[in-house]
């Protein structure tokens, strides 16, 4: 397995589709590159071109040192030699085989492969499913088996095409930790396709926004998604940290980027890492600390930026200040233009953020202890 670090990914191609042409020019060294965009933007076609399932009319695709496709030199590696691990939205397990046969399909009988299968089954918690028919798996189990199958084929890059897309929201949240665990455990360069901004933020180091076959933006997920407000929905701040204490149904989390936040307790023990989402519209902004208030989180912050939208709404980007008044995690809060003007909010100004612990939605409470 390639654990030498992220490979540089180059995708430059034109692929004619039914209603538009997919024109992509992307270079990235991200460990996990997110492809974000609405349905029909060309995300799956892009991934299928990487996997060799579709052939672009022109361009060049390179993963690390491996040239997968180059129209100028006539290189087009056949699918079986591309070395990609692909997990599509519908898993595509072979229905005539049981789980173990599906997972082992791309392996040899060597002890190294046996070890890899065992390790993967352990990480994804699927060993107990090995004898089961694929037709008798739940949606989440299918995706974990498909992920295992891709991992044990020793790919040079992992392609995850909306692997959570077919699942309902609670199940999505239960599978997300497995994806994070795979990212951290296997260290494979990964392309993660999703139209869920929260998932992109939770998993990716960099995101490419695709719309009608064209790259609209590329950059750090929080910056890119914050600026585009993640489509029609309110932006969700995704924050990571370590549980430091438990209260009455809540847990205090020391954020990686600085600051302390109370979140609902979801089985996480002190010392464990958690990842949680906080909607930008769940945050109240005040100039002075409120007193005698039920909300558990009352945090001092400094305004970094104020953005106004054409529809009369506004967004402020703030830095939570830690106990020593140092810069902490960056979050965004949505409010109206009127509120911004009434409170005279300006970059550099001090505010107080107020939100309930229950406004924080825990995405993962991974068993992995913080270092």
């Amino acid at each position: 397995m390639n654990e030498a670090g992220p490979a540089r990914l180059e995708i430059r191609m034109h692929l004619p589709l039914a209603h538009f042409g997919l024109d992509v020019d992307v270079a990235s060294s991200a460990r996990t590159l997110g492809i974000f965009g609405p349905s029909g933007a060309g995300k799956t076609s892009l991934v299928e071109a990487l996997a060799g399932w579709r052939t672009p009319s022109s361009g060049r695709i390179r993963v690390g040192e491996a040239l997968l496709y180059d129209s100028t030199t006539g290189v087009s590696l056949p699918i079986e030699r591309r070395g990609v691990g692909y997990v599509p939205q519908d898993a595509l397990l072979w229905p005539h085989w049981n789980v173990e046969r599906n997972v082992r399909a791309g392996t040899s009988r060597s002890s190294a492969d046996d070890e890899l299968v065992a390790r993967t089954a352990r990480v994804l918690e699927i060993a107990h499913l090995f004898d089961r028919a694929c037709t008798r798996l739940s949606g989440g189990e299918r995706q974990r088996v498909a992920l295992a199958r891709a991992l044990v084929s020793r790919p040079r890059i992992l392609l995850l095409d909306e692997p959570l897309g077919a699942l309902d929201v609670p199940l999505r949240r239960r599978i997300l930790p497995y994806l994070i665990r795979v990212r951290d455990e296997f260290g494979l360069p990964t392309v993660f396709v999703s139209h869920d901004a929260t998932e992109i933020q939770a998993l990716c180091d960099e995101v490419v926004v695709l719309d009608a076959g064209h790259v609209r933006m590329q950059g750090a997920p929080d910056r890119v998604l914050r600026s585009m407000r993640a489509g029609e929905r309110a932006f969700e701040n995704v924050l990571a940290g370590v549980v430091t204490a438990h209260g009455d149904g809540t847990s205090r989390v020391q954020l990686d980027a600085g600051g302390d936040v109370w979140i609902p307790t979801v089985g996480s023990e002190v010392g464990e890492r958690v990842l949680f989402a906080l909607g930008s519209d769940e945050i109240l902004v005040a100039l002075d600390p409120p007193t005698r208030i039920s909300a558990r989180n009352v945090l001092a912050a400094r305004i970094d930026a104020v953005e106004h939208d054409e529809d009369g709404s506004a967004r402020i980007d703030v830095r939570i200040l830690d106990a020593a008044e140092g810069d902490g995690a960056r979050v965004s809060a949505s409010l109206t233009r009127g509120s911004v003007e009434e409170l005279a909010l300006r970059p550099g100004g001090r505010v107080v953020l107020v939100f309930k612990a229950n406004s924080c939605r825990v995405l993962t409470a991974d068993g992995a202890r913080a270092p």
Binding site: A51, W53, D90, A91, W94, P95, H96
Partner: protein, 232 residues
């Protein structure tokens, strides 16, 4: 002939010839029809629609026309005759000639059913097999064939059934020689010609029984099994 067919031995000889011809024809036509079905289902090539039409032709041509065409080809001066090849294929008026006629007549049925069986397999399941490193041949053997197996078995069964009832082409290429080339359908025709209705009815009853079992089996195979071909 009438006397012999009234006896068990005569009926057994007809059944033996029928089974020998139909089984041999099915064994030959199944791989050919499967290969053509796969080509038509999975490959794009120049002249594909011409091949489709040519393969389907025996479905609409009168079997006697096909028989006459084969007779012309296999005749001494024909393209596949002794003078052209330099040796005699020894097919005319033999049970092997009946096999050839059955193969040609049943090929469209087998190829079309096989094509449908392959088209029913999600091609993305094959792409996924190659993505994890399987070669094309291995993908075909490990994924495509098992997933299409019910449809392919049904295709072979239909080929067998068609060969079982073949008459028009067979009577021209192989004749109607008792004990050598006389199959069930030819024997029924002979009995009717001779006015032996009880012998004809007995043979018809046997034919109906065999046909019923075959069609029941084929329907079972073709009944869609959601687990068999679609991705999970």
């Amino acid at each position: 002939m009438n006397a012999s067919l009234s006896s068990d031995a005569g009926t057994a000889a007809v059944l033996w010839t029928t089974l020998r011809v139909a089984v041999t024809a099915a064994v030959i036509v199944a791989p050919i029809g499967t290969a053509i079905g796969w080509l038509l289902a999975r490959r794009s090539f120049l002249g594909k629609s011409a091949v489709e039409t040519f393969v389907a032709l025996p479905l609409v041509l009168p079997p006697t026309a096909i028989g006459y065409l084969l007779l012309t080809l296999l005749a001494r001066d024909g393209w596949l005759g002794e003078r052209t090849l330099g040796f005699d294929l020894d097919l005319l008026f033999t049970w092997k000639g009946a096999v050839l006629a059955s193969v040609v007549v049943s090929l469209p049925l087998v190829a079309r059913t096989a094509r449908a069986a392959f088209e029913d397999v999600d091609p993305r399941l094959e792409s996924m097999a190659r993505t994890i490193g399987m070669s094309r041949p291995r993908t075909f053997i490990a994924v495509t064939l098992p997933l299409a197996r019910r449809g392919l078995l049904a295709a072979a069964t239909l080929g067998f059934g068609r060969a079982l009832g073949e008459f028009g082409a067979t009577v021209i290429v192989a004749g109607n020689i008792p004990g050598r080339t006389q199959t069930l359908s030819l024997a029924i025709f002979s009995e009717i010609q001779l006015g032996d209705t009880s012998a004809a009815l007995r043979l018809v009853a046997i034919t109906i029984l065999v046909a019923f079992v075959l069609m029941w089996w084929t329907e079972r195979l073709l009944r869609r099994d959601p687990r068999a071909r679609t991705a999970t």
